[in-house]
Amino acid sequence: MLRASSEAIGVDADLGATIGNDVSEVGVPAGAELIALTEAAVCGEAVDDARAAVVAAVGGDGAGLAVATIAAFSGLVRVADGIGIPVDDGLAASSASIRRDLDLDSFGGAANTDLDGVGGPDGFDFADSR
């Protein structure tokens, strides 16, 4: 979604920033501040300074949405990994180059997905549900 939404508004986002690479030129406005807040929050570190920097960069409403997103995905990742859901059909194939570039296939949860992009055991086809 980061790649697709960035392309939609003509932003050249550096996806490497999502795995901890240099964020100084992430390409997303206030990206460095948003990443700093995210990392502090996920690690359980003090977030006051990082949050203040985000508020200064994007305002209180923007910071509120950033915090809400951190919270939402802290739950989503636990459900995804706890249940062991595979990546949705079609996405496995279309994300192959990103996964390779970011070494995402080394994550343990990769074992739950047929990385060749073949349908799941029930033959579910994500494209048919849209």
Binding site: I70, G82, D88, P121
Partner: protein, 219 residues
């Protein structure tokens, strides 16, 4: 002086509603157990920055057995390392639907704690169980299907897998997704350009992707 963020009315309402759910009976776990799970998850997640053996966690005297406590701790603090062998062993001991409900309760408790911490708010304590909130119905949905996950999911939900991940316990799925929708994207998930938003979609997705990567979440 701590700088706080702006919390919208809809987000506050969703947070409060989710807090209330953690004091009520689930489909497979009663109100006391749901509350015990939420308190344990909240405490474990709050202490995620310190080594596991130094954490002070509630629950050793609650009505949760060691398997349930282990599931709660693992989901709350180290879900990215879960594999099929470990999950299958816990599911064999607990049952598939009770396991699913545990995952949902923990996820909600973690979201509530994370929001408070990141927003600069004092996290609300998990409330006492509501004693007259009914008993677990232990009802299963019809026609669960195998999508290759550790458990089956409801077959009538042709959606992205994370949206139906907890659907073996529909009430847990509803509570979880209700909070997620209030916090992220809502009805704008398919829109790549968010015009009336305080953050652009790429800004939001940058945050989302970093959270996922830091948790080693492949999905």
């Amino acid at each position: 002086m701590s700088v706080h963020v702006t919390t919208s009315a809809s987000v506050r309402e969703a947070l409060d509603r989710s807090h209330e759910r953690l004091a009520r009976s689930g489909v497979w776990w009663d109100a006391e157990q749901v509350t015990a799970v939420a308190r344990r998850a909240d405490a474990a997640f709050a202490q995620r920055a310190v080594p596991p053996w130094t954490r002070e966690l509630p629950g050793e005297t609650s009505n949760l057995d060691d398997v349930a406590l282990a599931v709660v701790d693992r989901i709350a603090t180290n879900a990215g390392t879960i594999d099929r062998a470990w999950a299958s062993a816990q599911i064999a001991a607990l049952g598939d639907a009770p396991y699913v409900e545990l995952v949902g309760i923990v996820a909600v408790a973690v979201m509530l704690r994370m929001y408070a911490e990141a927003a600069g708010e004092t996290p609300s304590a998990i409330g006492d169980p509501v004693v007259d909130a009914g008993q677990p119905t232990r009802q299963r949905p019809d026609g669960p299907i195998d999508i290759g996950a550790y458990v089956h999911v409801a077959g009538h939900l042709p959606m992205v897998n994370v949206v139906r991940a907890l659907s073996l316990v529909p009430a847990a799925n509803e509570t979880f997704l209700g909070l997620v929708a209030a916090l992220y994207a809502g009805d704008k998930f398919t829109e790549l350009v968010w015009d009336a938003s305080p953050l652009t979609r790429p800004q939001v997705e940058l945050v989302a992707s970093r959270v996922a990567a830091m948790n080693d979440c492949f999905y």
